[in-house]
Symmetry: C2
Subunit: 344 residues, 2 copies
Amino acid sequence: MVHIPNQQPAQRSVPTSADVARLAGVSRATVSYVLNNTSAVRISEPTRRRVHDAARELGYVPHAAARSLRAGHSRMVLMPTSEIPMGLLFSTFFNELQWALSRLDYTVVQYASLGMTGEDAARAWAELRPVAVLAPDASALGPRGVTVLKRSGAKAVFTLGPQRVEGAHALLMDGRRVGRAAALHFLARGRRRIGAIVPTEAGLEMFWQPRVAGLRETVEATGTHGATVTELSLGYSEESAARLAARWRDLGVDAVFAYNDEYAMLLMRALQDEGIDVPGDTAVIGSDDLMLGRLLRPRLSTVRIDLPSGRSLAELVDRVVRDPGAEPEVHDVLGADVVHRESS
Amino acid sequence: MVHIPNQQPAQRSVPTSADVARLAGVSRATVSYVLNNTSAVRISEPTRRRVHDAARELGYVPHAAARSLRAGHSRMVLMPTSEIPMGLLFSTFFNELQWALSRLDYTVVQYASLGMTGEDAARAWAELRPVAVLAPDASALGPRGVTVLKRSGAKAVFTLGPQRVEGAHALLMDGRRVGRAAALHFLARGRRRIGAIVPTEAGLEMFWQPRVAGLRETVEATGTHGATVTELSLGYSEESAARLAARWRDLGVDAVFAYNDEYAMLLMRALQDEGIDVPGDTAVIGSDDLMLGRLLRPRLSTVRIDLPSGRSLAELVDRVVRDPGAEPEVHDVLGADVVHRESS
């Protein structure tokens, strides 16, 4: 009896560069040169075409990982994502930055760090071998995190936020400027007893703390007679706003910086429902210049925040990647101006 | 003369597992077993400790890429990011999903595709060798994109949005339900001449088209005598809203579905400024149930959108990764209910 081997259905496996080489009748090195567009090696056009055809036929995709293992680094820019939903201002800025980086041939990847901080977070990011990291929270990264990233081959580590960290370039977003702009606006209009809304929602500390600090510092620095700053807690709900409005007259504030436009809109409505005149009894100012603030009556005054163009930041990242030994740079990138409407 | 070689400053190079092996006095294989927590091989506690200490001292981080090259796949779940800023609803949903996936030991990475579609986008994603992909736009991915991803080793390809694509699992978010809910609400209240706001901003088609289609289909299906649907363009600016409001009386609509709450707030303000009574002359409804809609007078009616829990979706992803040969599943995941307030 003749033994006929079982015809197993072919196991559908992921095609490798060896498969491409076999089909194209060339070496694996040639496949690598062609698909990675290596200019150092001259390869004839027909061979190039044969490799591309074979790759297409097999559905072969080069492995970014393998490529970065060979090159020692990638073109990946890693940005840890925050769990705080980004407003329109930051979404627009990040979109622009991503486009600009992709035009410079970087791949932008956002990484969900989910509560990891410092070295733990840095190690998780480093596993992907990014060539650059843009971290939003310097305090969570820490100098040891920066070291981990650099030792894993990251050529540029930037922080993007209110704080600096040793060893990293800083795109400093100094939220104190927002509070300072609001304070100067109120003081110039004769307001003296200034409230500062502190949102009770977790995770917003890194935003409100510098704003309130800037407000307080400015009031103290001007030495205006009788000027005070009172912190007032507010949760983002109608109930919380109604509770705060109910004891408003006892607080004796004649102006309030409401953290941002959303909290300002919430508070202004509650004050009006309580019969408190805005801006007669209390001037209200928000920040972020949301379009919706213009729809209220009175129209909401706000502090407009200006961010740099994504393109200029992308060029900065690229420059540092090309010159990784340079001293850490600090760029002050946040502007703040009052848009005076009717509520203040 | 004695030649003294230049003392070059040591080139600070990225530490490798070979460096760790040398310092710990073990083989590279042992380093790999220890740092990848391979349970198949028994390694003594002191050896384990020696490897961990050496890795820490050198600042060595395993290369996710190298690990996935060995394993043939990663634990990476890749989600292409959209350029449209996500509302609070989707941000919350994605945060929950990311947490739930990370608890199942996946790493979630968002990838900026930036205008790439189909095979191009899929090839770019495939280079990172994700084990699963959650793509928000099925039509941009296409069946060939799904094939590229699967051939590169992705075990689970999901689409998350209004459309399906051959070969992928679908988490179907049928926006027609939003329009249907609004239509039934208006018809039940005797409104017949229904306007549907069409935002002029680019990139929103995938959201508004199904909503308007659902509105229209429902009005036609009920066969209500004299009921009509009129599409009305509106840009997200006060000028655009004022222009639309100025010709409102000529349009003869007695109800309007305003795409979402932000457009609804903008339109309602412009209608009120034009002396049109809401809801007397025109009923207005938005969607998304933003908190700010409750601050207006009249309070804005809205269609509340319900998404599934991130945890249940994470479990679904994990199940498919473990059983990649299973037939594509379709899950209808979007719920829509009217929250009736004062504007309708």
